[in-house]
C-alpha cells in the first residue's frame, strides 16, 4: 500500500513538474513570438518611417527645389 502511494506521489510530482515545464516552455515560446513580432514590427515601423522621412526630404530638397 505504502509502496503504491509512493509511486503515485512520484508520478504526481513528475506530472506537476512536467506541467510546470510545459507552461514555462509555452510561455517562453509565446513571449519569444511576441518579442519577435514586436521587434519585427518595430524594425518595419522604424525603417518605414525612415524611408518615408528620407523620401519626403529628398522630394522637398532635391526635386521641388529644382
Amino acid at each position: 500500500m505504502a509502496e503504491e502511494e509512493l509511486i503515485g506521489a512520484v508520478i504526481g510530482i513528475v506530472i506537476v513538474i512536467a506541467i510546470v515545464i510545459a507552461i514555462i516552455y509555452i510561455t517562453v515560446l509565446i513571449l519569444s513570438a511576441v518579442a519577435t513580432i514586436a521587434a519585427a514590427s518595430g524594425a518595419l515601423w522604424g525603417s518605414g518611417t525612415a524611408i518615408a522621412n528620407y523620401s519626403k526630404s529628398f522630394k522637398v530638397n532635391m526635386i521641388d527645389s529644382n
Binding site: 522604424g46 518611417t49 524611408i51 528620407y54 530638397n61 532635391m62 529644382n66
Partner: protein
Amino acid sequence: MATDPQPAKKSYYFDKGYKDLGNTVKGAWQRNFVSIGEYKDNIKVSKSVDDTGVFIFKLILNLLAMIGVLVVGSAITLVLSTINIAILLVFMAIVYIGFTIAWTTDRIYLLRKRIFTACHECKEKSLIPIYICPNCKEKHTNLTPGVYGILERTCNCGKILPTTFFYGVDETTRKTSGIVKELCIVITTFFHGIVTTPEKVMRRDLEAICPNCWHEGRETKLTDRETVPICIPVVGGRSVGKTAFINAFSRDFIEKVIPAKSWKYDPYNDAKIDLYKEIIHDYQTGNTRLTKRPTDVNEASSVSFSFFVKNDDVFKPERLVHVYDIAGEVFTHNSENEVQKQYEYCHGIVLIIDPFSIPSVRNKYESDLTLEDIAGIGNADINGIVNSFLIKIREVTGLSDRKMYSVPLAVVINKVDSAGLFNELGEDSVKALMKTDPEKYNNEMDVYDYLCREFLRYNGMESFLNSITIKFKNNRFFVCSAIGHSRGKGVYKPEGVMEPMEWLFRQADSIMDRNWQDTNFTKRPFALKGIEEPGV
C-alpha cells in the same frame, strides 16, 4: 577651364547639388527626430486619457516605434544618405569627366586648327575672347566647359550660352533644368556627337571683345568667329610703298584671286568696309594714303586691313586675313604708340624696300626718274630700317640676338617700274638668265630671288643681305611694282604683288598651299642653298 568667377550659374553638381544633398540628409534626420517626438507625445497623451490597460498597450506600441525609428530608422537613414552621396559623386564624376573631355576637345580643336584671336586694335593674341551675353550684355571672360556647365552655361540673367565650338544652343527646344538637363547634355553629346543646325546659336555667333583691350579700359569688338587667322605685317621705311602694296594686293586678291578660286570675300566689320572703299579709291586714282602714326598714344601705330576668306568646301573654318600696314616712322624714328605684338604670332612678314633709297642705284637711275618718282623716294637707310625692325622683333618675341626667326620673310624690291629698273630685275632678265643654264635656273621665282640678291650685293647691300640671311631662316626675295607707274597717273597696274603674298599665305596655311597654286615655288631658293645656317 573656367576658374575665374563667371557671371553664370554653377553646374548643379558643383554648387547646388552639395547644398541639396546636405539639406536632404539633414531633413531626413530632423524628420526622424520629429517622428520620435510624436511617439513620445502619444505616450503622454495616452497616460492622461486612457485606462491603465490601454495605456500599457499604447506605451509598448510607441516605445517599440521609438526604438524602431531610433535604431533601425537611423541605420536606414545612414544607408540612404550613403547611397545618395555615392550617386551624387558618380554624377559629379561623370560631369567632371564630361567637361574635361569637352574642354580638352575644344582646346585641341583651337590649337590644331591654329585658331586664335588677333585683336585688330591692340594686336594682342588671345585664344578665347571675352564673350558678351546677348541678353544682359554681361561679360563672360572664360566661356569654356567648366564648373558652370559642360557644353552650355546659364548666364545670371537666365540666357543659355554655348561653351564649346561644336555645341549649339537651341533655346526653343531646351526647357529642362537641373539633373535632367545635365544628364541630357552628357548623354546627347556622348551618343550623338556634334549637333549643329542653322537655328542653333554657336559660341562663334556671340558678340566678343578683346580681353587685353578690356583690361586696359577699352572695348574692342571682335568679329573673328573662331576663324583661322593669317597675319601678315608689311614693314619698311617711310614712302617705300607699303600702303600701295597693300592696296594692290587687297584689291586684286579680293576682286581677282578670290572669285577665280570660287572663294568668298566677307568684310571684317564696318570700319574695314570703309577702309576697303579707300583702298579702291586709291587703286582707281593711282594714289596712296600716307599711313599716319597718330600722336594720340591711345591710337594704334599700325592699321590692319582684315577680311574673311570663305568656302565651306575648302576652308573649315574660314580664314581671317589681317594685313598690317605699319607706319614707316615706326622704323625710322624708332617710336611707336604700341608694341607690335603681331610679330610674335604672325605667319609671314613682307619687308618692302625702295631700291632708289640705295645711293648707287639712285645715282645710276636718278636722271631717268620722273619728278613724282624722285619726290616719292624713301630716303631712310635700309640697314637702319632692318636693324630697327630686328630690335622690335627681339623685343616682342624675346628671341636672343643669335637665334634665327622662323617666320617666313618676303623681301620685296618695290618700284621696279621706275627708270627702267625692270631691265635689271624684270621678266626679260629672268628669262635671259634661265636660257643660259636651264638646269641651274629652272624656277622663275628662284631666279627672281637670285637676281634680287645679286642686285643688292652689287649695289653695296651685302650687310643687309647678311642680316636677312642670318636672322631669317626662311626668306625669299621678290620684285614688284605696286602701282605699276608713277603715283597719281591713273588706275593701278600692279606687277609682282601677288607672288610674295601667295608665297607667305602658302607657307602659313596648308589648305591655302593646296588651293592657291598660281605660282611655282621651290621649297628653298637655290641662292640660299649652300649658305651655312647658324644653329637655331
